[in-house]
């Protein structure tokens, strides 16, 4: 699966019967820093809720058709999820629209904790003695 950004829609009146009712979106694949990588693809929207501007993940090849109600539709890319957050090892969230600054020292922590990204705990290598 790949991260991608929906950048457009495709309307096709004449198409094979299997594609009737399938929403087609133009998706720009992204790397993990959300920079465009590679060419844009047309993907079927398997979650029925993706729209332009949204960060999604896309499955390619035969598995794309598996995401559709009829698994024999001729699609080779499908949007299978809308991304809420990407949490990386460094704790940054490139998917966050606007990262909130950390509270100033001494400032009382009011309200619920921010739902921002939390860094992942870095785990050591298993089963190996320290060298």
């Amino acid at each position: 699966m790949q991260l991608g950004r929906v950048v457009g829609t495709v309307v096709a009146t004449v198409k094979v019967p299997g594609l009737t009712g399938v929403k087609l979106l133009v998706v720009q694949p992204l790397d993990r820093a959300l920079r465009p990588v590679g060419g844009q693809v047309v993907a079927a929207d398997a979650v029925h809720m993706a729209g332009p501007g949204e960060l999604v993940y896309v499955v390619a090849a035969r598995e794309a058709a598996q995401a559709m109600p009829d698994p024999f539709v001729p699609v080779d890319h499908a949007i299978v999820g809308i991304v809420d957050a990407v949490r990386t090892l460094a704790g940054d969230d490139p998917a966050a629209p606007r990262p909130s600054p950390p509270p100033a020292p001494g400032e009382p922590a009011g309200g619920p904790p921010a739902s921002g990204p939390t860094p992942l705990a870095r785990r050591g290598t298993r089963g190996r003695a320290p060298s």
Partner: protein
């Protein structure tokens, strides 16, 4: 299969039902020496891998569905192992942290 390092997680609430209750991990592809090979992929975790670990990525749909016992799921990339060590194919011990 491919070598990769887990660099993060992907959180999604609106998704294909096959992804419910599954952990999606963001992985950077590596060469056998442990250096980034370019590119990253999102994979379903089947072994309980954690951030920073070198893992074995399976990028083939039929095997992925068999491992996850999810016939018909639109899943193609699965983490199938946590790598302890890679020898040969490069500069020797690849699991440098």
């Amino acid at each position: 299969m491919k070598l990769a390092r887990v660099v993060g997680t992907v959180v999604s609430t609106i998704n294909s039902p096959a992804f419910d209750e599954r952990t999606l991990l963001l992985c950077d592809l590596l060469d056998p020496s442990g250096a980034p090979a370019g590119g990253s992929m999102i994979a379903v975790d089947a072994v309980g891998a954690g951030a920073g670990e070198m893992v074995l990525l399976l990028d083939e749909g039929n095997s992925a569905r068999q491992i996850l016992a999810a016939p018909g799921a639109p899943i193609r990339t699965v983490i199938v192992g946590i790598v302890d060590e890679v020898t040969g194919g490069g500069a020797g011990d690849a699991d440098r942290d």
